[in-house]
Amino acid sequence: MAQKTVLRKPKGFIDVYKYKPGEEKDRTHYCPGCGHGIIHKLIAEALEDFDIVEKSIVISPVGCSVFAYYYFDTGNLQVAHGRAPAVGTAVSRANPDSVVISYQGDGDLAAIGGNNILQAANRGENMVVVFVNNAIYGMTGGQMAPTTLTGQKTTTTPYGRNPVTDGYPLQMCELISQLTAPVYVTRTSLHDMPGIRKARAAIRKGIQNAMDRKGFSFVEVLSMCPSGWKMEPVQAQDWIRDRMLERFPTGTFRDSSDEAVRIERPVPVMDPEKVKEILGYESLKTSNLKKNPNALFNKVALRVAGFGGQGIMSTGIALANVGMEYGYKVSWLPSYGPEMRGGTANCSVKVQEETIGAAECTEPNMVIAMNQPSLEKFERILVPDGVLMYNSTLIEVEPTRKDLRVYPIPVTGMADALGDTRVQSMVNVGAFAAITGMFDPGEISGLMSSLFGGKSEKVIQLNEEAVRKGYDYVRENFS
C-alpha cells in the first residue's frame, strides 16, 4: 500500500447514508465525542485499504451501534440483542470467502449475548468481533452494563455499582483468552492518540485474520460515552485513562495468528443425481415380494414388550421393514423417553392392507411379551382370540386368559444357543412369520443384507439362522 497523501472519509463508508431516515444523510447519529464513530472509521479505513469493502459483511447489534448498517458500504445484517456472534456464525459459514465483522457493545456482548460470544469464540468461527466497551448502556439511557465499574453511578446503580448486589465488572478479554480456539484476543483504548493508533492496528489485524480465514479474532476497544457518563468528550477520555484502565488493562492476551491454519468449509452437493447417490437411492428399491394369499392374517396390530435390551424395538422395526417389503402399509410406534430407560419398553406395530389410522395399538390382535411384567400388562388388552406369543425362557407363570391363542417360545434360550442373545428379535420375526403366514422365511433371509446393511456377512448369516429357528420352532411345536 502506497503512503497516504490524504486522510479522508474512507471508502468503507456509504457515500450518502441512504438507510438513515430523515434529512441528515451526511452525518452519523452518534453523539458528539462518541467512540463508536472513531471505531467505525478505523474499520471503514481498513476495508478500503485492504480492498475488501465488497466482500465484507457487517453484523449490527442492538445498542447505540444498532444503526451501524447506515454507514458501512458492505453487506449488512441487523440482528437481535446479543445474537451477533450466532448470526455471524451462519453468515461466515454461508459465505466462507467473505469477511464477517461482528460489531457489539458491552450490554449486547457481555450480558444478554454472553453465551453466544463465548461459544462462537470457542468454535473459532472465522470472524472478527469488535467489542466496544464503554461501561454503560448508552442507547437505553445510561443503565448499568456488565462492564460498569465498581462504584460507578448509572441510572440503575444510582448509588454506585455494588459488587455485593451487582457483581464485578466482567473482563471479556480475560475470559475469552481462556479458550483454545481464538487466534487473536486484544484490548485497546481510545483514551489518547497512541491508544487510538493501537486500536487501529488491532482492528486491522483482526480483519486481516478474517480475510486469511484464520478464525476468531476479538478486539475490545475501551470507548467514550460522553452522554452516558455525563462528561465532556475530552474529560471522558481522561476517565478511561484514570478509571477504566485499572480494571481493563490494555494489551494482547492471545496472538496465535501466525500459526493459525486456514479454515476450509465444505462445498454443498446440490446436483440431484449426486444427492440421490449419497442418500443411497439405489439400495432403496422395492423388492416386490408377493403377499401370501393364504396367510392367516392380513391385518396385524401388534404390541412387542419387554425389558430394554431384549430387542423389543428392533423386533418391531424388523417386522415393519419386512411388511413394507411385502407391500403392506406399516407403522411402528415406540414408547419413548424415560419409559425406555431401565424399566419395560414396548412398541406398537401395524401391518395391514389399508391406510393406517392410529399407530398405537390400543386393542392389539397380537402381543409378543418378552418378560413377565409385559405379559401381565398386555395380555389384558388383547382382543378375544388374539395371539399371545411369549418368551418361555424367562416367563414361567402362564397367561390367565383362556380366550387367546398362546405360543410359548423359548426365544432367549434359542438366541443364546445361537451364541448371541441379540438375535432374539430375529427369532421373533421368524416365529411371527410362522404364526401369521404373512412372510416366507426364505424370502425374509433375502432381506437381511438390507436390514443389516453395513454389518459383516457373519452377522447377516447369524440373523438368517435365527429367523429360521424361530420359524421352525413354531411349525414344529404348534400346528
Binding site: G75, L77, Q78, V79, A80, A86, L279, S331, W332, Y336
Partner: protein, 350 residues
C-alpha cells in the same frame, strides 16, 4: 420410487435435504432430537452445514444469518425450545427471511413431559413472538408427509419470504412408516436481489427496524397483504368419508390419525362420522369449515391434544352458525378411536 422405513423426524430431514436445504442449526430436545441427529449424519455427507448450536436462541439466530445470506435453512425443536425461538422468529418474519422450523410438540406447560401433545398450536399458529406477524404452518400426520410437507415448507418459505413451520406432535415424529423418497429439487430460487452474499452486487441490508411510524405501519400493511395472499392460495386440507357424514370430527396431526380409525369404527356401528383435517393451520381452511353448517349435520366435534386451542379457530370459522364440541386430551395422552366414538354417541345420541 425408492422408499425407506423411517421415523417422521428422520423423514423431515430427508425432505430438507431433498429440498436443497443447505444448513441445519439446532439444539437437542426430546422428542425432536432425531432431527438434529439425522441432520448431523446426512448433511455433512452432502457438504451441507450442520451445527449444534449453544442454545435454541442461538440456533434460530443462526437460521436468521443463513437465511439472510439466501440459504435454504432449517431448525427443529419442541415446545420449550420453540418458546425460546420466538424472538428470533419475529426477527425472521420482520426481515422477511424464508426459513423452516420443525416443531415436534410435547407436553406442557413448563417442562411438562415428553409425551405427544398439541399445546404449541397458539404459539406457532398465532405467531407467538412479538409484533404483527404470522408463520405459515403445515401439519403433517405421517412420516411421508413429514418428508413431503417439509419440502413444501421450503418452497412456501421462499415463495413468501416468511418462516414456515412444520408442526406436529411426538407421535408423528417418533413413529416409523414407509416413506417414498421424491426426486431432489434441481434448482433453487434466485435470491440475489435481496440476500447478502459477500459480493459487490449482494451488499444488501437484512433488517427489521423501521424507526418512522408511517414506515413501520406501511411494512405491517405489506405483511398483512402477504398473509392475505397466503390465505387465498395455500389452504390445504384432507377429508375422509365426508360425502355422507352426519357428524364431522376435526383434528390435525396424530389426532387426525386416530380420527381416521374412529371414522371406520363409527361406521361399523352405523354412525356416519366423517373427518375434516386441516393440513395448513395458517392459512386455516376457514371457507371449508364455514360451509359445514350448510349441510344437514347432527354435530361437529373438534378433537385435539390441547386445551381448546384448535376449537377456537374452528368456531371462528363457523361464525356462530354452529358451535363445535370439543374432545381434548393432554399431558401426553392420545385419544383412542373408541373413546372418540363413545363421546360422539354420548353427545349426539347416535
Amino acid at each position: 420410487m425408492p422408499r425407506k422405513l423411517m421415523k417422521g423426524n428422520h423423514a423431515a430431514v430427508y425432505g430438507a435435504a431433498l429440498a436443497g436445504c443447505q444448513a441445519y442449526y439446532g439444539y437437542p430436545i426430546t422428542p425432536a432430537s432425531e432431527i438434529a441427529e439425522s441432520a448431523a449424519a446426512i448433511f455433512p455427507k452432502l457438504g451441507r452445514t450442520f451445527l449444534q448450536a449453544e442454545s435454541e436462541v442461538a440456533a434460530i439466530n443462526m437460521v436468521y444469518g443463513a437465511a439472510g445470506c439466501g440459504l435454504r435453512v432449517m431448525t427443529g425443536s419442541s415446545g420449550p425450545g420453540i418458546s425460546l425461538k420466538q424472538e428470533g422468529l419475529s426477527y425472521c418474519a420482520g426481515s422477511a427471511l424464508p426459513c423452516v422450523v420443525v416443531d415436534i410438540m410435547r407436553g406442557g406447560p413448563g417442562l411438562g413431559n415428553i409425551g405427544p401433545e398439541q399445546g404449541d398450536y397458539n404459539q406457532v399458529v398465532k405467531g407467538g413472538g412479538h409484533g404483527n406477524f404470522k408463520n405459515i404452518v403445515l401439519a403433517p400426520n405421517s412420516a411421508q408427509e413429514m418428508c413431503d410437507l417439509t419440502m413444501l415448507a421450503f418452497e412456501l418459505a421462499d415463495k413468501y419470504r416468511n418462516p414456515v413451520f412444520v408442526l406436529t406432535d411426538g407421535v408423528i415424529g417418533q413413529m416409523m412408516e414407509a416413506v417414498e423418497l421424491p426426486e431432489p429439487v434441481s434448482e433453487l430460487p434466485d435470491k440475489s436481489d435481496w440476500a447478502v452474499g459477500g459480493t459487490a452486487d449482494s451488499r444488501h441490508l437484512i433488517n427489521s427496524i423501521y424507526l418512522d411510524h408511517d414506515d413501520l405501519e406501511w411494512w405491517n400493511m405489506e405483511l398483512a397483504k402477504k398473509y392475505e395472499t397466503v390465505e387465498k392460495n395455500e389452504v390445504r386440507f384432507e377429508e375422509y368419508k365426508m360425502e355422507d357424514a352426519e357428524i364431522v370430527a376435526i383434528g390435525y396431526g396424530s389426532a387426525s390419525r386416530v380420527l381416521r380409525s374412529a371414522v371406520d369404527l363409527a361406521r361399523r356401528k352405523g354412525v356416519r362420522l366423517g373427518m375434516f383435517r386441516p393440513i395448513t393451520l395458517f392459512p386455516f381452511p376457514k371457507d371449508q369449515l364455514a360451509a359445514l353448517p350448510d349441510r344437514d349435520l347432527k354435530g361437529i366435534i373438534t378433537v385435539e391434544m390441547s386445551n381448546g386451542q384448535l376449537v377456537n379457530d374452528v368456531n371462528l370459522a363457523l361464525r356462530g352458525r354452529m358451535i363445535s364440541d370439543l374432545h381434548m386430551r393432554m399431558g401426553g395422552n392420545v385419544p383412542s378411536a373408541l373413546e372418540i366414538v363413545e363421546k360422539v354417541s354420548e353427545l349426539y345420541g347416535v
